[in-house]
């Protein structure tokens, strides 16, 4: 299923230091924790504007690690990472912060703030981006309605079920209409119907121009939606043929 051949077939942009069509660009990136051996080596990857990818791989293969490199924007231990055409090393903290606002992330463990209500959790990225309370009141309820959480607007995340938390996390990631949505197992805790419904949300977002990358174990989802699949195998990232 995987082969080095497919590795070479990946559509890389030629100009790899500055290409404004690439939201994320990795060259020869190695990922490891502390002094442990690399869990992923020689990652070459371009996430282009408006693209849609699934990311699969066995549990512990490094999906979360790869995605977190994109959203934490920390310099990789090896190789080059650029964001929106800029090498990460050339950006200061505030510039990186501004780029992060264009990326919506759904964390595998949700990372909702338990001290804030569902509404405030979803509003958080807008508050950080300095949007007015009026703007926030206008957009947040609609999205909560769409993901069926309108009745939980004032609830604290701690009383929600796993699937409900997941939907709050999705709403929080999508509220800013980001240029890139990174979703780590966004359907891991919902039933199949809800999973498909949520995936249509991502598809819709993608139609409106957002790039999407979704890590998932669900073969049925991957089969249902005909998008390119990135796979991790033996510490390497491949573009899978469909």
């Amino acid at each position: 299923m995987f082969s080095n051949n497919q590795h070479n077939n990946m559509a890389f942009s030629k100009d790899h230091s500055r290409n404004s069509d690439n939201i994320i660009s990795m060259r020869g990136v190695g990922i490891r924790y502390d002094q442990n051996p690399e869990i992923l080596s020689d990652v070459n990857l371009d996430i282009q504007k408006g693209s849609f990818h699934f990311l699969t791989g066995a549990s512990g293969s490094g999906k979360t690690s790869l995605l977190s490199l994109m959203y934490t924007a920390n310099p990789p231990v090896r190789g080059h990472l650029s964001m929106f055409g800029y090498n990460i090393d050339s950006l200061n903290r505030d510039q990186i912060a501004l780029f992060k606002r264009k990326i919506g992330v759904i964390f595998q463990d949700y990372r909702l703030l338990d001290n804030l209500s569902v509404f405030d959790n979803v509003a958080l990225p807008l508050v950080i981006a300095g949007k007015s309370p009026n703007y926030i009141r206008k957009y947040v309820p609609d999205l909560l309605e769409w993901i069926d959480l309108k009745n939980y607007i004032h609830a604290k995340p701690s009383i929600l079920s796993g699937g409900q938390k997941q939907r709050v996390a999705i709403a929080r990631a999508l509220i800013t209409k980001p240029e890139l949505v990174i979703a780590d197992e966004p359907t891991g805790n919902v039933d199949d119907d809800m999973a498909v419904k949520l995936l249509y949300l991502f598809v819709e977002l993608n139609r409106m121009g957002s790039a999407v990358i979704i890590a998932t174990h669900s073969k049925s989802l991957i089969e249902k939606f005909n998008y390119p699949v990135l796979g991790i195998h033996k510490r390497h990232l491949f573009l899978q043929e469909r």
Partner: protein, 318 residues
């Protein structure tokens, strides 16, 4: 169900708040609130002491300056200390008064009556001293005419010399030493008060620093989420600063309120203070304004400290 939804909708629409993330200070807040209240209480006390001592000194200084007491001793001269007869002594006193009254720089010359001397001495000597046959000096109260001469420039020594040359055995007490002693006491008290104020500022700042650090540690996960969503370091520091500001401002007003309450009880419930030094202490509106400003200054200081603490931690964490 529809009704329920409407309730939620209206509750939501009435929600016209500014976002705050005060939760990030969390459980450590009670300690900070308490310490601010205590520190502002003490700071207010220290400041009130400074003001009071100032007023006391001013009013005593005003009363005493420009006044001298001429002491006519019942001796013949400074070298010949034989005691004068009653008549001769009376003559001597009369001569002294005449000489003093001839001076245009002096506005009032008054012999302090025996009754007054007795009442001044009775606390030390007991009553009935009027019957004791010891020759007491006669005291003459003299005021310098401040429309004729600057009080500070008046040469008391020269007058004393003249009186001794012409009459003999006369002392002048011009209270200058008394005033300067008082001034030393005033300075010492105020130095102590300012020292206490500085100590309070340092203590409070350290408390704010530790509280902010502890809160940062406790809220690390939330702060990471803030960062992942593209929050500037300054945004995060400001959330801490604003939470600390609100907290310390409340604490400071609690401290000020307690001080006011206790001050009220002391000044108005206890009648026994009438006729004591408290009569001299009249605060101006500027004094009250200064005291009222303490909570705001404390909260501002705490805010700046919190912000800098967070920026420093984030800078290091980076």
């Amino acid at each position: 169900m529809a009704g329920n939804k409407n309730v939620i909708q209206s509750r939501f629409n009435s929600q016209n708040k500014k976002y705050n993330f005060d939760f990030i200070i969390g459980r450590d807040s009670n300690m900070l609130l308490l310490i601010t209240a205590l520190m502002v209480f003490i700071a207010t006390l220290a400041l009130v002491c400074v003001f009071s001592v100032d007023k006391l000194f001013d009013s005593w200084n005003k009363d005493l300056s420009g006044q001298m007491t001429v002491q006519v001793l019942p001796f013949k001269s400074n070298t010949n200390k034989s005691i004068l007869s009653k008549d001769l002594f009376k003559n001597k006193v009369d001569n002294t008064v005449v000489l003093l009254k001839s001076k245009s720089e002096l506005s009032s010359v008054e012999i302090i009556s025996d009754d007054k001397v007795n009442s001044l001495l009775s606390p030390w000597l007991g009553s009935g001293i009027e019957n004791i046959e010891i020759p007491l000096p006669i005291l003459i109260d003299v005021k310098i005419n401040n429309s004729k001469i600057n009080i500070g420039n008046y040469d008391v020594k020269k007058l004393e010399q003249e009186l001794n040359d012409k009459i003999g055995a006369i002392n002048i007490e011009d209270h200058k030493k008394w005033v300067s002693d008082l001034k030393n006491v005033k300075n010492a008290v105020q130095f102590l008060a300012y020292f206490i104020l500085v100590a309070i500022i340092i203590t409070t700042s350290i408390t704010v620093m530790y509280t902010t650090r502890a809160a940062f540690k406790a809220q690390r996960a939330s702060i990471e989420v803030f960062h992942l969503m593209g929050a500037f370091d300054d945004f995060i520091a400001k959330q801490f600063a604003s939470a600390v500001f609100k907290l310390t401002l409340s604490g400071a007003f609690i401290g000020l309120f307690l001080f006011g309450l206790i001050g009220f009880v002391i000044l108005f419930m206890v009648d026994g203070l009438k006729g004591t030094i408290f009569d001299y202490i009249q605060f101006s509106s500027v004094d009250y304004a200064t005291i009222f400003v303490i909570p705001f200054i404390s909260a501002m200081l705490a805010k700046i400290t919190a912000r800098n603490t967070i920026l420093q931690i984030i800078g290091k964490v980076k």
